[in-house]
Symmetry: C2
Subunit: 398 residues, 2 copies
């Protein structure tokens, strides 16, 4: 293993220059697995070299038993509790993670790595393919959630952590948590999958397909080779983000937050400008997203979620995925989440029960939709705090 | 008034040639209002000339009292119960309208006109602007639902119909029905607004904005002047259609119809082809739509829906819109419709009750989502049949 030192030009014509710099030279710690440690992929091949960028918070105890792996969602990254190097914003789960927070960095050693296929320093489609000296683009094999988890396990090996105290994450992060329990049950003491599903639904695949088609429709996508061409399909990516963003919020929350309020005007303009606040908000979401995210990485991330169907590897029986698993589970859903509705989360709970696993389930009452897992939701925080405290006692961490 | 005779080239580079031919020379009857009969627009100006293309079915009785106006939805048109001249498919409501059908053409004279701003023969952005000799494109003023209804009233004047026996329609069609009751209460005996709302919600505006941005992001949109440039933003329009199409179906129906089934393959391909049936289905929806619809018309139609907020003209009090209205109402919603959920329809019913109007309300149990109003839904048909029969008796039509 060697730390990445590949040189790479960046310019503002691609993704934001600051974001593109993160691809090869991330602001995070990096481990690079060389030819001696290729990664087996679900698609059949092997990937090598593999670079993983990660952040840690808190201190690993002497017994190496207090590590919590945080798995990020579709467009998240490893900057979970520190200022983001590109946007300058607080980490995406800084309400959840820190000293005295539910995931208390005074007690736990928190690790978050950029997923395989991402664009913040772990090997992804914007990374340089050593065989060509050019970005992989679509030459990177399609990555699955299981591939992401395999890469995380390699990172833990590198860090000398045999068993995780816990793994947690929402949405695609929750899928990784479930995959961890299925693939490495002996390495996982506790698990908190949040607002997720054991498989991506037809409706969810549909929304992702709209996003992908928006990117593919952008002539600046250049068949995927936009980096090489010095272009950036930012318009297509922005449309993809806008469509997805609607699914992260509930109808009620949109009504409460925006309703039909007008944006900086007293009357309708009878045109196609952003008359309504919701239009202006969505456009802003699209525009800021393209400054920090890579269009091909978006294709790979959405595909990984679409392909996720945990039961498929177990004769279609989800309970079998958790057979003999001693991990303690706390599943969380949100009442107004229509992307991963409570029913999808309950399916996981039922399977865990059928497998005789130790599982608790909390449905948090909120009108904030899927994104609630990222927001200030006291019931979520209380749940995570209580579950981890009890698990830590049993694990002998207190 | 004169019938349109403007000549206009068509070619396959634009919208489908057959579709484009419909803009100026529709397969329907046409009335053209000249400078003597301009149309007042909500945006402030007047539109002239105005062409309205329409279909009729059945026979107008001697008392001219058996006319039913059918109002079409966003991407519908006047071909409600006849073979579509472009697609060759049956009319979009041929299950509802015909001899012996709920809207029985043996009893009623059914009229359906292409809405103002459309692209099937009524004046819209693809129509020739007589002042320039070129398509209006974005020079056409933004059209509102009330403008559409004013144009329909002009058509009824032309046909010598003072009072409609009934008006009906789903979605944007339902908005027109509500506007009819508010604008011309004395010209409307009965009304059946289906799967609609008195205003477009924030979430609905958001989905429309995604569609518009997808069109605007297509370089072939050419700032709206694609017809003049001999181009067609079909990629952007297809993405817009795909996003919208998801909102027309319920999560349950998608699960039942497609689930995670693969399209013509036994295993995942680990690529970005349409592995899943739902992807293939959505792509097909996008591709076939662009053959029959004009991108600018899509912008105008979505804007008209977004702008709709009936209460706004009545001090924000919806009940005032129906004050003193003698129209008999039958409101219909569908349990799985999340675009215009039952709650939105119930708001209309509450306002009608508050106004002392005669109103009945049926929530149809179905898992087919918003599109249920177009499908074979026996409870919908029974409801419409029964309501119209009772109303006809009171109206003395039997």
């Amino acid at each position: 293993m060697t730390v990445a030192q590949t040189d790479n030009d960046t310019n503002g014509e691609r993704i934001g220059a600051a974001a593109h710099a993160e691809v090869e030279h991330p602001s995070s710690a990096v481990v690079r697995f060389g030819a001696d440690r290729p990664l087996d992929l679900d698609s059949g091949g092997k990937l090598s070299p593999v670079q993983i960028a990660y952040q840690t918070y808190g201190t690993l105890n002497a017994a190496r038993s207090n590590a919590i792996l945080v798995c990020h969602a579709l467009t998240g990254d490893q900057h979970v509790a520190n200022e983001h190097p590109v946007t300058g914003k607080p980490g995406w789960w800084s309400l959840m993670i820190g000293p005295g927070r539910p995931i208390d960095t005074d007690l736990y050693f928190v690790i978050c790595s950029n997923v395989l296929g991402g664009c913040m320093g772990s090997t992804g489609p914007a990374s340089i393919n050593p065989q060509t000296g050019k970005p992989y683009a679509l030459d990177l094999p399609v990555i699955t959630v299981r591939d992401m988890v395999r890469a995380q396990a390699m990172l833990l090996d590198h860090l000398g952590i045999e068993t995780l105290f816990a793994a947690t994450g929402g949405s695609m992060g929750g899928m990784q948590v479930l995959q961890w329990a299925a693939s490495f049950p002996d390495r996982l003491f506790a698990a908190i999958p949040i607002a997720t599903g054991s498989r991506h639904s037809s409706q969810n695949i549909a929304f992702h397909e709209v996003g992908r088609q928006a990117i593919l429709a952008d002539p600046d996508w250049c068949g995927g080779s936009y980096l090489e061409a010095g272009k950036n399909p930012h318009k297509g990516l922005a449309v993809a983000r806008m469509a997805a963003h609607i699914t992260y919020m509930s109808d009620e929350a949109l009504h409460r937050k925006f309703g039909r309020s007008l944006q900086d005007r007293d009357a309708l303009t009878f045109g196609f400008d952003a008359d309504f606040q919701i239009e202006s908000y969505l456009r802003h979401q699209g525009m800021t997203f393209v400054d920090r995210f890579d269009a091909n990485a978006y294709l790979y991330m959405t595909r990984a979620m679409d392909y996720f169907d945990l039961a498929l590897d177990y004769d279609g029986q989800l309970a079998k995925a958790f057979a003999g698993c001693h991990t303690r589970f706390c599943c969380v859903s949100f009442t107004s989440d229509w992307l991963f509705p409570t029913a999808e989360n309950r399916t996981i709970v039922h399977a865990l029960n059928a497998a005789g696993a130790n599982v608790s389930f909390v449905e948090v009452e909120t009108d904030r939709g899927h994104d609630a897992f990222l927001l200030d939701e006291p019931e979520l925080f209380t749940t995570v705090t209580g579950f981890l405290k009890a698990a830590a006692r049993i694990r002998g961490l207190s």
